[in-house]
């Protein structure tokens, strides 16, 4: 089993990173949140950021997306420096964020929410048919208002709407938070299928058991820094340390 799991990670490690973060710092007003974050994401990988509440995981995603007030350091996407770019420019380079609060527009219908994000690449995005095979519930709810969805449906819509655009790197912020186990399984299968499709995924997750079903590599964050990193195959060996880091 370990050999089979290692093989794709090894081929991926040969490639240049899709996203390389080094010395990333960020502030919310006066509070210094990130104190030099370093990690990388290779093409086609699922990378998970782990850490306690307040470790800076969400802030890291927001800083990459350019929606944090002040940031410093370096974030290179396909070799291009994106710190300092406006958020809409970053989105158009091919990075999409599915935020923790989901950000469904309540005054728009499901269909309008789905069709809202701009196409940023001529190819690469999923077709609507493909999206509906991944999330059959959405097809039945197309005409409903964005505020009328259940939590699971909202999460599916939030993920679905960034799949159409052609973004290469999907950043999912706690996609399983507050959802029923059956929905969590469906989201897990979706992430696996998206990986098969060639999407690169950066996941922030509190649900460590969920993360272990989809992730290739883990980075552990604490106090605004990455303090440890290991591959999924080394998970067993690192369980002891992880329990210390996460306090679970």
């Amino acid at each position: 089993m370990t050999d089979a799991m290692l093989a794709p990670a090894k081929t991926a490690s040969a490639a240049a990173p899709l996203l390389k973060i080094s010395g990333l710092e960020a502030w919310y007003g006066e509070s210094h949140i990130l104190h030099g974050v370093d990690f990388d994401v290779r093409p086609g990988e699922v990378v998970t950021l782990l850490g306690r509440n307040g470790a800076g995981k969400t802030t890291t995603l927001k800083s990459i997306m350019g929606i944090v007030g002040k940031r410093k350091g370096s974030a290179r996407f396909e070799g291009k420096e994106i710190i300092g770019l406006a958020s809409d420019r970053i989105a158009r380079l091919g990075i999409a964020l599915c935020p923790e609060e989901r950000g469904i527009f309540a005054s728009l219908s499901v269909q309008e929410n789905l069709m809202l994000p701009p196409r940023i690449a001529a190819s690469g995005g999923l077709t609507l048919d493909r999206i509906f095979t991944l999330f059959p519930n959405l097809k039945e709810r197309l005409a409903s208002g964005g505020s009328k969805l259940s939590g699971g449906e909202q999460q599916m819509l939030a993920i679905a709407r960034i799949l159409r655009t052609g973004a290469k790197l999907l950043m999912l912020d706690e996609p399983t938070e507050g959802l029923a186990p059956v929905i969590i399984q469906q989201i897990g299968r979706t992430i696996a299928e998206l990986k098969q499709e060639g999407f690169t995924i950066l996941l922030v997750e509190q649900n460590f058991r969920f993360a272990s079903t989809v992730a290739d590599r883990y980075f552990v964050m604490e106090h605004g820094r990455v303090i440890d990193a290991f591959a999924n195959s080394e998970l067993e060996a690192n369980m002891g340390k992880l329990h210390d880091y996460l306090g679970v």
């Binding site: 809409d88 935020p99 005054s107 097809k139 709810r141 208002g145 009328k148």
Partner: protein
């Protein structure tokens, strides 16, 4: 795109638009027969102000930008179109176009300055700019200060439609109103309109999906300014004058009142609100004089306290329809 399944629950948010279309047919039918029952001059006045309120509502109701100086677009366009028709002797259609162009240009300049700020700061910047336009209109030689531009010729539209005939004039004003109304309706129900609503609701999210919010806000601002200008320019032609009333601060305030009274963020609300306010001014004004302002203020208070969604908003909410 496939049809949603018939079992899907129908919510008031369902954007079928059928109710809106039925309401449009009813409104158009009423306005077509109205001049046989109601004084046409009042109707034309109300139609122009209603278009002005609809243009204002496009901005406040769908983009969430409260402009406190929208009278500058109404007033400037009315001066430009009156001047173009009277002094340059232009065809009424061209005079109106000149008015629209002037307010659109003003919209680009003021919009570019104002949309950098939000909320109360946006309102204050638009207010300050509109006061500048007011003093410009008071002092500039072509506006004739306190006198305004009087006896503007109605003229021959496209050289063969005689606008000095009251009936023809009414249907011309109605056509302009319906055109402006449909432009707004189409805008709100287009993908562009969806982006505007998304920006109103959660601007950072819309930006991080890849939209440069400022460009969309500016486009909506300029469109709103141009349509407010269309209302003002048409008003100058049918009423045969342009005066300081249309560019004054009180007009900017009244349009807020009309929109709130009728229902902010509803398509028909501003039309209803404008008809009520103009009717009060025209008919109550004869008997009560300045007291109309006091009554307007009281209605505003009642509206805010009792039916915050406005008349159309409350009706739509009660019947779970989208109007």
């Amino acid at each position: 795109m496939s049809e949603p399944s018939p079992t899907a629950p129908i919510s008031p948010h369902a954007h079928s638009g059928r109710d809106e279309k039925v309401a449009f047919v009813i409104m158009t039918a009423l306005l077509l027969v109205a001049p046989f029952v109601i004084y046409p001059f009042f109707l034309m006045q109300a139609l122009c102000i209603a278009l002005f309120a609809c243009a204002f509502n496009l901005l406040v109701g769908y983009v969430g930008l409260l402009s406190f100086g929208h009278a500058m677009f109404l007033g400037l366009a009315s001066y430009v179109s009156a001047h173009a028709a009277k002094v340059w002797g232009l065809d009424p259609a061209l005079a109106i176009l000149a008015g629209v162009a002037s307010s659109a240009l003003l919209g680009i300049v003021t919009g570019a300055l104002a949309i950098r700020r939000q909320g109360i700061y946006f309102a204050m910047i638009t207010l300050a700019l509109s006061q500048m336009i007011y003093f410009f209109c008071l002092e500039a030689p072509f506006t004739h200060g306190e006198d305004g531009i009087q006896s503007v010729p109605q003229g021959m539209l496209l050289h063969f439609i005689d606008l000095s005939n009251q009936t023809i004039l009414y249907y011309f004003v109605l056509a302009v109103f319906l055109f402006g109304f449909l432009v707004i309706y189409r805008t709100i129900n287009s993908p562009f309109g969806d982006i505007l609503k998304a920006i109103r609701e959660n601007e950072p999210r819309a930006v991080s999906l890849g939209y440069r919010a400022d460009q969309y806000k500016l486009a909506a601002f300029v469109l709103s300014a141009a349509l407010a200008g269309l209302a003002g320019a048409t008003k100058a032609i049918f009423a045969q004058n342009a005066s300081l009333t249309d560019v004054q601060f009180s007009m900017s305030g009244e349009v807020v009142l009309m929109t709130l009274l009728g229902g902010m963020g509803t398509i028909y609300g501003p039309v209803v609100g404008a008809f009520i306010v103009v009717a009060m001014q025209q008919y109550l004004g004869q008997y009560l004089g300045e007291w109309v302002t006091v009554i307007q203020g009281s209605i505003f208070v009642v509206c805010v306290l009792l039916f915050r969604r406005g008349i159309v908003g409350e009706i739509a909410g009660f019947f779970k329809r989208s109007l």
